[in-house]
């Protein structure tokens, strides 16, 4: 869309500026011997208005050849040719107008007088056109910066949405429905157990929401969340789910993005323990070594288990978050060997306060 034609306010200002130029032109045209102020205006104002519209066309070459991308020579040639042509058209319009006016007794001799101004008028026309080109480039730049701003805003919104989706995905609906089913089962003959399960579930949800809103959390907080999650799952799976932890004290204070490990532990339960008839163990390890925080999540698994749709989604998610946070300094490795699935993460351990 043409930046001037598209907005009436801009068009009005633009035409006003050209009327002003037409006024100046009127003064100049009244100057030659035998001319009058009236004749100057009769020629100058239409000429100004005519050129206003001709110059609007400067937008199209300006848009087609943006300053940054097109070569300087090509631009120079394009615009110079357009300027010479436009000014020629302008002058021709002036000559025809002067001839027409000369037929009126009031403006007798106007055509001859206009001829004398022509050598000056032509270069002025070229310059005015080039001025219009500059103005249009200004508009192009303005539009581009606005577009970039809009785009940046759009990206920000997208990032926010992704964050929200991630959070929602972290609280897996299957997990919730299964937990509610367990509570429903306990209500009958173990009301105390049902109450404890409700508390665990409420704690887990509260923790997820609270920690999820933070930028970084200490490993100790993430571990507390995991302990809670695993307690709930232990009600469902009973003795099939065993958990062991080896956490170095120094590691507990290390900062991580929230809910980084939770999806991995959830995977360990759904794809590991839940696929084993006799169940198995989930092992969590954390230690600080050489400026790195080393994390291990390992679980028993059935090598012949069915690979379900969505497998690997959680892992890919974690990988992406690590990359976003630490770039290439973070490392994630997942491998399966002899009925054990092991995820190792190493991230820089920031200096502790």
């Amino acid at each position: 869309m043409h930046p001037i034609l598209a907005q009436p306010r801009r068009l009005g200002l633009y035409l006003l500026a050209w009327l002003f130029a037409g006024g100046l032109l009127s003064l100049a045209l009244a100057f030659p011997e035998g001319g009058s102020a009236l004749e100057g205006m009769a020629l100058g104002l239409p000429l100004g208005l005519f050129y206003a519209f001709v110059s609007l066309a400067a937008w199209y070459p300006a848009r087609a050849a943006p300053l940054r991308s097109a070569g300087a020579l090509r631009q120079l040639v394009t615009h110079a040719a357009a300027a010479l042509l436009s000014s020629a058209a302008w002058c021709l319009f002036g000559v025809l107008l002067a001839r027409g006016l000369a037929r009126l007794p009031l403006f007798a001799g106007a055509a001859g007088r206009f001829q004398t101004v022509l050598p000056f008028l032509y270069p002025v026309g070229v310059l005015l056109y080039l001025l219009a080109v500059a103005l249009h480039y200004l508009f192009v730049a303005f539009e581009e910066s606005r577009q970039a701003e809009r785009q940046a805003l759009g990206l920000q919104i997208l990032a926010r949405e992704a964050e929200l989706r991630a959070l929602r995905a972290q609280i897996n609906p299957h997990f919730l429905f299964n937990s509610l089913n367990s509570i429903s089962a306990l209500v009958g003959d173990d009301p105390e157990g049902a109450r404890r399960m409700c508390e665990l579930l409420a704690d887990f949800l509260r923790q997820s929401l609270r920690l999820g809103a933070l930028e970084r959390i200490p490993l100790a907080d993430e571990l507390a969340l995991l302990a809670n999650f695993l307690s709930i799952e232990r009600v469902r799976f009973g003795p099939r789910l065993q958990v062991s932890e080896r956490i170095e004290d120094a590691a507990r204070g290390c900062l991580l993005p929230p809910l980084l490990l939770q999806p991995l532990v959830e995977n360990a339960v759904t794809h590991g323990i839940a696929q084993l008839i006799a169940g198995g163990e989930i092992r969590l390890e954390a230690r600080c070594e050489g400026g790195l925080l080393q994390l291990v999540i390992e679980n028993d698994c059935d090598p012949d288990r069915r690979r379900r749709a969505g497998t690997g989604l959680g892992l890919a998610n974690v990988r992406r978050r690590l990359e976003e946070t630490w770039g290439r300094e973070a490392r994630l490795q997942a491998r399966e060997e002899g009925g054990r699935y092991r995820v190792e993460i190493a991230v820089p351990a920031p200096a502790q306060t």
Binding site: H174, F177, N178, A185, A309
Partner: protein, 268 residues
Amino acid sequence: MNEPTPSAGAPEGAAPLRVAIVDDEEPARRLLRGLLAALTEVEVVAECANGFEAVKAASELVPDLLLLDIQMPKLDGFEVLELLGEEGPAVVFVTAHDEHALRAFEVHAVDYLLKPVSGQRLAEALERARARLGERSGAAGASGPGASAARALAAAVRPPGRLERLLVREGPAVAVIPIEKVDYVEARDDYVCLRAEGRKHTKQQTLGELEKELDPSRFVRIHRSYLLNVERLARIELYAKDSRVAILADGTRLPVSRAGYARLQELL
């Protein structure tokens, strides 16, 4: 497997609905047991913690209805249904919310309950099962969802991809055969006979159906009646004009038709 626990409220005279509960999570079984205890004319004949136990219970105790969890280790609910086949008990799936499963259920009209299970929905599902069972015994041949429906269901729910293993029911037991262990499959009317690790297994499925589920770059239809795992192929010999035999690594000889030979050549 737990001992049968007859429900208290069954009135005298009427034959109670014999139900087996199948779920790998103890609380889930407990909930169903509790809800069923409140209903009349229902008898819980078995509680199974996995698919193998379910197939065994179905063989030995012949329940009218399975309340069948879908996500279970080793054998999932769909596979249990497939193994039980057309003559098996009626099935009501019990599952936590799962969009794919729901869509499949709509298409194939197998009844289902969502976790957490509501007592009222359970009673309604039992009512429907009872009605269906009545029809089944009334008109011979009419049956429940059956094996083919289960396979279609499973295909709709599982991620697209080739079959990784074959399940074969042998009486109350289930053999799980990894697909790479299968040497060849032979058609026998409505059954297939497959050989794996020196043993033969029969399965209620047609060769054409099975062929569609297998990886075509591994299993080739060398003959109207034979599907061959090409990794077992040692050589092909001309037997007579236009007739060849495939000789497997262990010396087994299988007939190769002209079309089958063309398919083999294309692959190799």
